[in-house]
Symmetry: C2
Subunit: 144 residues, 2 copies
């Protein structure tokens, strides 16, 4: 977990159906029929200092809605949604930008994402060695 | 669980610190000092047909941010935030409006709330016997 390049891989939810990766796509459900034209994508992103959201106090929290259009209190909702879609919703695909240098200080920061992505419940968290390392990943999604 | 007036009382998260009721208030944390002037309150509300979010596909999802001001894709964010604050963040305090009549048909609907309320992680869900019963609770919070 002290490796900033690895997901903390701590899914906060117990039920398997709620724990799908952030890659779910809208699909027809036999019980409810075809999915709506815009499967809902509405998230809350939080960040706090510590190794796990189980022990930290969330210091900042923003909303991010990506369907039918980008919106929310995220400071750059349009870019954040584009980044998520570009990664096919897979946060693991967000990599550290080249040319960013950070100290090796261990002052962990945890980012947590809860809500719905393309019609599927999601709950993820990712822990970084420090704030600089967090901000070096992706372009705008984690910068709030 | 077939009693619509009862919380499903199914907290989706495992860690105790993430499972506090929706009544958390901003407080000073010994590790991080006094809370910010506006402790974050950012939520995702979802609804779907079924008894539990572990098995349903979320049909609708909206964001609701209540600090520093009401915002989000919730169709009535101002009223929804006022309702939450009026209940001191306690969803259990939302009662069925008098004079609303619903059939006793059992076609359960689950409402789920995830995110941060006044600086504390929250994850709750509440199951109602049918859509009419859901809409009879509170004024605007569940109407999205």
């Amino acid at each position: 977990m002290r490796n900033p390049a690895r997901w903390a891989a701590r899914l906060g939810l117990t039920a398997a159906a709620v724990c799908g990766p952030l890659t779910g796509a809208a699909h027809a459900d036999p019980a409810t029929g075809p999915a709506a034209l815009h499967a809902p994508s509405a998230l809350v992103l939080t960040t706090g200092h510590g190794e796990s959201s189980a022990t930290v106090t969330p210091e900042r929290a923003v909303t991010l809605s990506c369907a039918p259009r980008a919106a929310g209190t995220h400071p750059n909702a349009v870019a954040a949604c584009a980044e998520l879609r570009g990664a096919d919703g897979n946060l693991d695909a967000l990599e550290s930008r080249p040319g960013v240098w950070c100290t090796r200080e261990y002052d962990p920061v945890v980012v947590r994402v809860d809500g719905v992505w393309q019609g599927q419940y999601v709950s993820h968290e990712r822990t970084f060695a420090n704030e600089c390392v967090k901000n070096s990943y992706g372009a705008s999604l984690f910068t709030f």
